[in-house]
């Protein structure tokens, strides 16, 4: 049971590093952005996990009976971060599209070859 308590954090670590692997090792720019999205999701998961309180419920007061509530603060941070995340990902995709138009490729090493010429 003790180990189950930190399973969420393990998932965070694995997810974070899976995304990071895509950013580091893959040469395709869209793939890198997908990796970045995974990385983001991992961070979101970490924050929300930390905000959970045992036996708590979402921090929205029900009509009757106050209960234990989970931490609202990480939720606020992540809520805005999700929308910011999609906008910045879109910006990245915009750059990739422009790179494709200029270089004719979205593979990193081909772009470097063209640059060195």
């Amino acid at each position: 049971m003790e180990l189950l308590g930190i399973y969420n954090y393990w998932v965070f670590a694995v997810l974070l590093m899976t995304g990071f692997y895509a950013v580091v090792a893959k040469r395709n720019l869209v793939k890198k952005l997908l990796g970045l999205s995974l990385f983001q999701s991992a961070v979101f998961l970490l924050y929300i996990t930390m905000g959970k309180v045992e036996g708590g419920t979402a921090p929205i007061f029900p009509e009757a009976g106050a209960a234990v509530f989970s931490n609202p603060l990480p939720q606020v941070l992540i809520l805005t971060a999700i929308v910011v995340g999609i906008s910045t990902t879109a910006l990245g995709l915009g750059i990739v599209v422009r790179v494709k138009e200029e270089y004719g490729s979205i593979e990193e090493h081909k772009i470097q070859e063209i640059d060195e010429r």
Binding site: E2, L4, G5, I6, Y7, Y9, W10, V11, F12, V14, L15, M17, T18, F20, V24, A25, K26, R27, N28, V30, L34, G35, S37, F44, L45, I48, G51, K52, V53, E54, A58, P59, I60, F61, N71, P72, L73, P74, Q75, V76, L79, T80, I82, V83, V84, I86, S87, T89, A90, L91, L93, G94, I95, V96, V97, E101, I106, E107, E108, H109
Partner: protein, 324 residues
């Protein structure tokens, strides 16, 4: 039991993530990303974050898939090159993962009410929200009032990202081989999606407005509502073609929305100063401080919703306009 559900969903999520990295077909990777978004939203809900789950649903279900597919249509859907220094990267990443996992053993137990995160400001927010603002949704209260500066910053980041995309992709078209009117038909020849879409779009818009203005009482708020309304218009553009969507909401209007949202937010902040309070202090907006806070939150949420709608639609149109 619910903890076990969460663990099962997280395991599925890890499998999906690994599959995303391994596949060399980018289209498949985008589809798997949609699955990851569904799984993570379900997880957020299990972890008591209804507002966050709603945001992830609004963004992940429609918009992010549409944007990635738009980018794939403009680039390529195959990943041609093999990975770079695969072994070295794997060793580095695995080592970092092990270090992170080692660090988790010092973490407080999952759900521990005594954990350092839970004892500082959060109880204060939970305790003071009924007194100062008197709305049930603490998340909206913190987002709109207690941490209004943060949200203002985030809105400006979203605005900047939108402007960046317009700078990169707006203006001169790449020019394709397909005749304009043919590509612009959208799914007009597909009767079933068209009919269903026509029925549904008003409901999606209505639901977006409900989420916007019910955000003080249930899960919702400007960010979610903006994404949902943008999704409705994107659906219209998919069904009826780009140009019709643009004639409903012309580019000028979208730019106006993009700019008006942050401006409205900032103006509410300035109004606080004019009425003799601090920047973004809504208590002075009305004779009753609690009513003032509620009014301020309503206005800034409207600003957020307007700006998110404008930015997401602007980005979508920028991608779609290239695709011809």
């Amino acid at each position: 039991m619910i903890v076990m559900f969460g663990i099962f969903l997280l395991t599925l999520l890890v499998i999906t993530a690994i599959a995303i990295v391994r596949t060399d077909n980018l289209f498949v990777a985008v589809m798997l990303m949609g699955i990851a978004s569904l799984l993570i939203a379900a997880n957020f809900f299990l972890l008591d974050a209804a507002d966050v789950a709603l945001t992830e649903a609004a963004v992940g279900a429609g918009i992010s898939t549409v944007l990635f597919l738009g980018a794939l249509a403009l680039t390529s859907e195959r990943e041609r090159a093999k990975s770079w220094n695969r072994l070295l990267s794997f060793i580095v990443v695995a080592a970092a993962a092990l270090i992170l996992i080692y660090a988790t053993f010092d973490k407080p137990r999952f759900g521990d009410p005594e954990a350092p995160v839970q004892v500082h400001v959060a109880p204060w927010y939970l305790e003071k929200t009924p007194e100062y603002i008197d709305i049930p949704n603490v998340v909206t209260a913190v987002l709109g009032s207690f941490r209004g500066y943060d949200t203002l910053g985030e809105v400006f980041v979203v605005f900047t990202a939108g402007i960046g995309v317009l700078f990169l992709l707006g203006g001169g078209k790449a020019g394709g081989a397909v005749p304009e009117e043919e590509i612009d038909e959208g799914l007009r020849h597909h009767l079933i999606p068209r009919v269903v879409g026509r029925v549904l779009i008003p409901f999606i818009l209505l639901f977006g407005l409900y989420v916007q203005f019910h955000g003080e009482y249930g899960p919702g708020g400007g960010f979610q509502a903006g994404a949902i309304i943008a999704a409705a218009i994107i659906l219209f553009a998919l069904l009826e073609g780009e140009n019709r969507a643009l004639s409903v909401l012309p580019e000028r209007v979208l730019l106006g929305l993009m700019a008006c949202g942050p401006l409205l937010y900032g103006a509410v902040g300035l109004a606080g100063i004019i009425f003799g309070g601090n920047f973004l202090d809504y208590s002075v907006l009305s004779s009753n401080p609690v009513k003032g806070q509620q009014l301020g939150i309503l206005l800034i949420e409207a600003g957020v919703g307007i700006s998110v709608t404008g930015v997401l639609l602007g980005i979508f149109h920028a991608f779609a306009a290239r695709d011809s």
